[in-house]
Symmetry: C2
Subunit: 297 residues, 2 copies
Amino acid sequence: LKKEALKYAKELEKEGNEVFISASPCFGACDIALEEAKKVEAEKIIHFGHSKLIDIKEIEVEYVEPKIEIEKELLNQLITEASQKIRFKKIGLVTNVSHISQLKEIKELFKRNGKEIFTANGERTKKEAQILGCDVSAATKIEKEVEAFVYFGGGLFHPLGALILTNKPFFVIDPFQRKIDEITNLREKYKKISNAKISIASQAKTFGILVSTKPGQFNLEKALKIKEDLKKIGKEGFLLVANTFDFNEISNFEVDAFINTACPRIGIEEGERIKNKPILSVEEFYFLFKLLNSKDS
Amino acid sequence: LKKEALKYAKELEKEGNEVFISASPCFGACDIALEEAKKVEAEKIIHFGHSKLIDIKEIEVEYVEPKIEIEKELLNQLITEASQKIRFKKIGLVTNVSHISQLKEIKELFKRNGKEIFTANGERTKKEAQILGCDVSAATKIEKEVEAFVYFGGGLFHPLGALILTNKPFFVIDPFQRKIDEITNLREKYKKISNAKISIASQAKTFGILVSTKPGQFNLEKALKIKEDLKKIGKEGFLLVANTFDFNEISNFEVDAFINTACPRIGIEEGERIKNKPILSVEEFYFLFKLLNSKDS
């Protein structure tokens, strides 16, 4: 995407615009370079690679959605193979924004192979079957109706969240690596990690509550509530504010554990970086809260 | 400092304040956590570890300056030893904010050991003899009058900038490691690196111009001027905006070299991280500009 940005910048400059490129890392549709845009007094933000997720009031945002067209023949081959491999009939289909343009075709191919396809629209996501790191409701909403889930797309970033919050067999069709994998077993691994984190955190006395300033990740109310709730169970909370969390930086804080109110991926993907200092999700914290609160009373 | 922050936060909370701790890395007195403070609607920023450098209009900033008292006996011992080691009489003295409280004592000890001490007030620095990564004028201003420089303090962060921009013998008294070092030879090393960077950049066609959004590092005018000047020598410039520059991130941009308008330390300390893509300081760029411009005309 960084390569594209330079090309795109050149074109916009030819039209007489002054173009600034954000050189900050970008972690999703929630991560609009608003601070950078404001500082240089930009009139418009062009955001590459994601579809619209949040309303930005201060400045116009144009989204350049990614669209990856998988060749028809390969698509046909992958869906046919997947249909043979997946022994279930009722399938919940989820994907990311890049493949939405081929969603109809994918559903059609599954049907032709004898499958019944279920999809939903998520809470924060705007497109049918679309899931995000922070919104896998396009999967959870249809869980009761389906026998298994299929995620169509590359990488584990998107399906991992959906896997953790559901309980049905889970398959991934990766059109880039051209393979079909079952990842159901991974669920057990993440549940074990989660339990270990909660167990360590139950001994913690002080907690750092992570609050991101990113437009779509700012959850101050939630953080303040957690701080209050920590008091109720005799623990101490410190509000730690940053745009992007630098894990070398926060590991310097002398707290025993962290609670993450920013991107839910932080606890899953980055959590293992801080040894013996678990990063709990909000849900994991409240699980612990109930546990300790019921013990006390 | 992160440990201090938690202690300090507790005290402020006892007085009835809601305290937020910035978890962003902080690179100096220019790096006030303004974005974080605005986002949580803080009424005041308390900034640890630096003295005031820039005016922040949006919000009150209280500076908690570091003050490190070196034991009298050790101080006496170090200055006596340094006076014997440094064969020059006229000495330019520079230090960082932590040792300002002992400046008078240090000067006195040098005089007692037969030295003539020169100091100046810098352009951006507020205290006598104080130097910063971005302001070593407390050294350059007195260069003509002195035979050698002495930096009193720990680390190479501060003296390196002064070393590079001066030409007299340079000594460091490190009270933490309890030793006196001559670093004059390092100057040659950095000049060689600088020449190599300029030489590589002379072949570059496209440049990324780094613009930091940090309150005290924002130099948009300078960046826009550089972009214009690049055109004059047939090169292309892209404005890259971020708060903290992530070097993994910016190395993804397909430009041949960078020009840094943010903290001058970036080019010196981080420059070697990006292989074959030099980061020029503004001064280095204009050296190259003159070189190429005179060739053309």
